[in-house]
Each structure stands twice: as C-alpha cells, then as structure tokens.
C-alpha cells in the first residue's frame, strides 16, 4: 500500500531506507512507536559505520599514516557538518560526548566546579529527565548550592511567571528541557534564555527530544549550552554533542583528563589543548561520530521542516484517535507539542498496556520515563507513551488504537 501523508510527505519511500521496519514482531508488522527512547537508523548510517570499520579504521589526531589522516578528516568533517546542522558559529564550540547525559554531566562538573559555590542556585523545571536533575543534585551536595524548580500547569506548560520569580542574583545557571520526553511540550526556550540573560545568567538546553523534531538554531536561541544525543537523531548510540559558547568553554576546566586533551604534559605541569579537544579526553567514538554525520545528512535530505510537518499530522491524528477511545486519558495538553503522546487506560497499568500492545507488534514505552518527579507531579506511577518519527504512518496509529481496544477487552 502506498501511503502519503496529507502534506504529500513520501513516508512509504522513506520507510524503505530503514531495514528494521520491514520485520514482523509476534507475526505482525512492527509498529515502532518508541523513537523517543531511541530512533531507528537508516541504511546510510549503518553503511557509514561499516565503511569506517572496513576501510579506514585508525586512531585520529596522532597518526602520520594514510588511514589515520583519512579517519581524522572524516571525524572533523562530521563535526563541521553537525555544527552547521544546529547553526553553531564555530565547530570548535561543538564537543563530542557519549550523549545528552554526559553533556550535562560535563557542564555540571566543569562549569559547576568553576562557577557554582555554596548558596548559589541552579534552576531546572518540573518536567526534566533524570539526566537533567541528578547531575545538579550531585553538584549541590558537593558545593552547598541549591536546586530551584520551575513549576508546570496541569496541561504540562512551564509557568513562566514563576520562572521569572525564581531568577535572582544567586542564580548561576538555568538548565531546562527544550522538548519534554513525557509530555511532548515544546518549551518557550528562546524567551527563557532572554529572561535569564537579562540577569546575566547562562542557560543550558537539553535538546535530546528536540533535535529530531524541530529545527534547532543555537545562535537564534542564544543559549549558552545545548546538549543532544545521536541515537535519538537516527544515528548510533554512544555519541552525542555538547554545544557551548567559547566565552564559557574557555573559562571552564577540563572534564576528564587523558590523551588528546593536553598540549604538553610533565609531572610538574600540564597544559591543555585548545577547544574542543580540551573536553575530548581519550580516543573518541570515531565510528559513532561518522555515523552521526551520516544521520544528519540523511535527516537534512528528508527535510527537517517537512519531517516536522508530517510528525505534526501524526501527533494530531494520534491525539484525536486516542482521545476518542472511552477510558483513555491523555497526559500533556500543551498547545505547543511534538513527538509523543502519553496516555493512561483506566484500570490498567502501563506495563500491562505495553505487554498487550507488544503482542500486536506495537512497540511503546511504559513506565516513569526517567522523569519520576514529573510523574509525582501528576500523582502517577507510570504512563504509556507512543512516540513518533517521520517514518511513522497514520495507519500505524490505527493499529495502535486497535491494540488499545484489545487491552480494554482483556481487562474489561
């Protein structure tokens, strides 16, 4: 069956690029609605990783032989490419890390050690992933700083007035999520950055769920740090990026020590390498970086804006279809949303929903989504979450709805 979205998005042709989507699960076509956990990978990304290992595997930045030069050139070309993708002004401001979690930990350790002291304050929001809570809690324990939390409405929007009141002369950093992994809310981050900057407070944005869904321009956002993971952006696991403004990165001590991050080492004194290498100790994930470069290439080929429009249709349709099922309740009704719907089925735990959906070939996430404080905010232990990427179809949402009917039948 050939299917186009109502925007003419060629979703069936695009699905051909993702070999994993062709398989049957428990005898039924895979309906992969768990891209917020990790996205699937197009053949071009798989090929790029394989090609690196087959044809040019060598360590970078140190060899004087052909393969090392080639691997270094490809690694740095991927950096420039990914930097342009988020419109970073200079590739030296883009640091490769394992993922969003490591990016945030880098800032917590490095910026934190230099700039955050006892009684200082760090502002996060009530809809953060654990990876944007725990690093700051650890820092607070070490320094005596305090964590402040921006509250949210029942619909899942940040309360901006409350945010304004939290900012003060003790605030050293704001670290908020761009798009919520549970509610799908797109936060007004540009405004949040402006408000913080008016008080000379830097801002880190957790972009893990944003980069696969909305065009990201770090210069337009004017954020000081931006973090995301490659594996949610159709790239390999174990690679991610931290963008940081040079003005901050230059003042921050290294995160980890080791090879590649030094200029000279003696037992008396070590001098550090220039940006971004100061923050890239040890042999990096070369294959992952090249794979992420290929993923960005692929995504731009699909078209970030076109993908976003198609996903908007998916989200609208899923919201309409799920809301129409008696006994199903949606969590997160912010006007600006992308990427996922969290839902509850009356009288049925999310894990039971997940197990029955799996028997229909439908892969969703069930649980607290690594956002336990947010679950607590709504008095819930768990939700079911269907999350989308541009390779999903409207038909797949029909399969989801049919499977939810079966859940209700089993538990009726």
């Amino acid at each position: 069956m050939t299917q186009m979205s109502k925007n003419g998005f060629p979703v069936e042709r695009i699905r051909e690029d993702f070999p994993i989507l062709k398989q049957l699960i428990h005898g039924r076509p895979l309906v992969y609605l768990d891209s917020a956990a990790t996205s699937q990978k197009p053949q071009s990304v798989i090929d790029a990783v394989v090609r690196y290992y087959r044809e040019e595997n060598a360590n970078i930045h140190r060899g004087i032989h052909y393969l090392s030069e080639r691997a270094t050139a490809d690694y740095e070309a991927a950096r420039r490419h990914i930097a342009r993708f988020i419109n970073a002004p200079d590739p030296r401001e883009t640091i490769f890390v394992r993922g969003t979690t490591e990016a945030i930990n880098l800032v917590a350790h490095s910026y934190g050690r230099r700039f955050i002291h006892a009684d200082d304050e760090i502002v996060i929001s009530a809809m953060e992933h654990h990876s944007n809570i725990v690093p700051w809690q650890l820092l607070c324990e070490q320094t005596g700083a305090k964590l402040r939390v921006i509250p949210i409405t029942d619909d899942g929007e940040l309360i901006v007035d409350a945010y304004a009141k939290l900012l003060n002369s003790r605030t050293r950093l704001v670290s908020v999520v761009h798009v919520s992994n549970v509610l799908g809310t797109i936060n007004p981050v540009k405004r949040l950055v402006e408000m913080a900057h008016s008080m000379h407070i830097p801002v880190l944005l957790d972009g893990a769920q944003a980069v696969p869904h909305v065009p990201v321009d770090v210069q337009d956002l004017d954020c000081d740090f931006y973090a995301f993971s490659g594996h949610k952006l159709f790239g390999p696991t174990g690679i991610g990026l931290l963008y940081g403004k040079t003005a901050w990165l230059d003042q921050m001590p290294p995160f980890q020590g080791g090879g590649d991050m030094i200029s000279t080492v003696s037992f008396e004194r070590t001098t550090y390498n220039s940006l971004p290498y100061k923050f890239e100790a040890g042999t990096p994930n070369i294959a992952g970086t090249i794979g992420l470069g290929a993923a960005v290439d692929y995504f731009q080929g699909v078209g970030v804006e076109a993908a976003a429009r198609h996903e908007h249709d998916l989200l609208d349709y899923a919201t309409e279809v799920l809301a129409a099922i008696p006994g199903v309740r949606l969590l997160g009704n912010a006007p600006e949303k992308t990427g996922c719907v969290s839902f509850l089925v009356d009288g049925v735990h999310a894990h039971d929903v997940g197990t029955i959906l799996d028997q229909h070939g439908v892969a969703i996430r069930a649980g607290h989504h690594c956002a336990m404080p947010l679950m607590e905010r709504y008095g819930l232990a768990a939700t079911a979450r269907a999350s989308f990427a541009f390779y999903n179809t409207l038909d797949e949402i029909n399969v989801l709805a049919e499977a939810i009917d079966e859940v209700k039948e089993v538990f009726s």
Binding site: H26, H351, A366, G367, M375, A382, V410
Partner: protein, 143 residues
C-alpha cells in the same frame, strides 16, 4: 499468547484482591520497589509460634505484581518457616529455573508460569516474593 498471561483467575486477583490491606500487628514487614518501572510493594505477615497465620500486601504496580502478591498471601497462610522457604524457592524456580513442573504445591500460582513467555515481566511476578523473602530474613536475624 496474551490470553495465556491474562487468565481470568489472574485478572480476578488483580481486580478484587482479598489480601490487599495493611496488616495490623504484623511482625514481618518489608518494602521493595523496582527502580526501572516505579512499581512499589509492601508485604506484611504475622507469625505465631513458628507458623504464618496471616499475610497481606499494599502495592502500586501492574496486574502481574498485584495478582502475584494476592495469590502469594493466600498460598503462604498456615505455613511454617520451612514451608515458606520451600514455597518461595519453588515459585522463584518456576519462573527463573529450568522449565520443569514445580515440586511444591503452588495451586493457582502455577498460572503465573506463563510469565516465562514474557521475560520483561518476570521481575513483576517475583517482586512480592523477593519482598517476603527479605522481610523474613530480617525477622529471622532479630533476637
């Protein structure tokens, strides 16, 4: 396959658990949670003269956690310490050991053997039992 897991007996224990309450006068009590999924359970028991006279639980979790806990409370009533050890071991082995018939009478609990086909749910079925085992261990070590 879904029907194998969600048998009417299991769903009945989930919907109308006879043993879901806080037990006053419990001398064995334990709490566990599964940090991966957020399920939480408290298990209570009263042991008089070496015999478990009553067990109950309170839980926030899926149907498998709750049904397993409710059936466990039924099954262990009247058991001695030695019986309890044998029952807990038999149940754990039914889910995690070699795929053989349990050698201890487990009654309706044998329906939960189907959970073996759903590996990610095995921890749900085991959570109440692990909680009871830990609680008994703690009460054993008390003077």
């Amino acid at each position: 396959m879904t029907q194998d897991l969600y048998r009417q007996v299991i769903l009945a224990h989930y919907r109308q658990p006879a043993n879901r309450y806080k037990l006053d006068g419990a001398n064995v009590a334990g709490y566990s949670h599964n940090p991966l999924c957020g399920d939480e359970i408290s298990v209570y028991a009263r042991i008089d003269s070496g015999r478990l006279t009553e067990a109950s639980f309170e839980a926030r979790g899926c149907s498998i956690v709750q049904a397993s806990a409710d059936m466990m409370a039924d099954c262990v009533r009247g058991q001695t310490r030695a019986d309890l050890d044998a029952t807990i071991t038999a149940f754990e082995s039914m889910l995690e050991g070699p795929d053989e018939e349990p050698d201890v009478a487990l009654g309706d609990l044998r329906l939960l053997r189907e959970v073996r086909k759903f590996p990610v749910r095995i921890k749900c079925a085991l959570l109440p039992w692990k909680t009871l085992r830990d609680a008994l261990g703690k009460s054993n070590s008390q003077p």
